[in-house]
Symmetry: C2
Subunit: 196 residues, 2 copies
DNA sequence: CGCCGAGTTGAACTGAATCAAGAAACGTGG
DNA sequence: CCACGTTTCTTGATTCAGTTCAACTCGGCG
């Protein structure tokens, strides 16, 4: 079970031997999961970060009123963590589920520690990932605060054209914070504009 | 010009001498600014992180349509950074402005580096701050995706009772992503409910 | 005293939600 | 490979939360 994406993810931006990462990878648990399989349920604990080698995951929550909203999609080469659980010993707010048959690598703290030891630049790299993630979340907040459903959808199309093609529209709607019906109408409206 | 909050912020959770932090503080620029003073303008660059020793800042953006939205409030003991500018060499998306007469400490990369050198646990602490920040942003996204104006306001009241008392309602509205008029009505509604 | 910005209130409007019903696409087993 | 049930998408009618615009109140401050 090869994991070329994983190897590339940790070697391409870091000064480290492929063989070293490969060794570390071999110490990690790997999971081949079917579409719809739930890796982590809301309320459970997990110290793992999931690296998506192949397939597509989503991280989502059900709120009090039974509405579900999607925090993130994670296609190949993405990392998904439940921070509440992994770093703050709190039950997870989000569930993590496969939207396609997937292959994920389970990373834990010891992997991070070993990589930190092995690669001088890793801490900085990791920090950079976190800062980038923060920027991304801030952008999304900005959109939610001041963009219409249509603008948010167009932004999504531009940012994640790949994901768009791989998930049902319902889920895109849930990511954007609108109903599937509204998304359908928004799309119709856009198509209509284009054909003029 | 003493900065007890600053000292406490970096000593209380870290295994480091007060005198060491104090020395580092003395190498940092400090700014005493008046209400409404703009520390950073949208589009500018700044490699600094601002630590709020006293007073209150806000981080906000004006979008295309001239609408302003507030990304964050920063009262005493908060850190504010423009990540685009500080870590990714991009012009800042957000402006940073004082909402009260304030005293801020300007932290730069060399401060971080020195503290990292000096205090073994600092990297982990810093990481923890970042993860916590991410959680916070995720929570906000969750609210924006599925809570009503009233629910968002009540959440704000609970989370930031202090800020609530210190800023004009207009700004709270802008943080929540609603108009000042709507906020006024929401508050009226809540008061009405309580008096029953 | 008079101005000015912040907050409130009202009336009309609008973007998106809801509810309900069909149509299309999809996968699974015979 | 087709038939059937299930999920996904579309469309329509109605409702509703929140916006917009405009007028008015209130408290502070020169």
């Amino acid at each position: 079970m090869e994991c070329p994406n994983f190897i590339r993810f940790f070697t391409s931006n870091l000064d480290v031997q492929e063989s070293d990462v490969s060794d570390l990878l071999n110490q990690c648990e790997r999971l081949t999961i079917k579409k719809n399989y739930v890796l982590l349920n809301q309320g459970e604990f997990s110290k793992h970060t999931f690296f998506v080698e192949k397939g597509l995951l989503r991280q989502f929550a059900l709120n009090e009123n039974g509405k579900e909203h999607i925090l993130s999609f994670a296609p190949e080469n993405w990392l998904v963590t439940d921070r509440d659980s992994a770093y703050f010993n709190q039950p997870s707010i989000y569930s993590i589920q496969a939207l396609e048959d997937s292959l994920v690598v389970l990373i834990d703290q010891s992997f991070i520690d070993k990589l930190t030891q092995l690669v001088p630049g890793f801490t900085a790299y990791n920090n950079r990932l976190l800062h980038n993630h923060i920027r991304h979340l801030q952008d999304r907040i900005g959109l939610l605060l001041s963009a219409t459903a249509e603008e948010r959808y167009l932004n999504f199309v531009q940012m994640y054209p790949d994901v768009l093609m791989r998930v049902p529209q319902t889920m895109v709607a849930s990511y954007l914070g609108i109903t599937p019906e509204s998304l359908s109408r928004v799309r119709k409206e856009i198509a209509h504009k284009k054909s003029e």
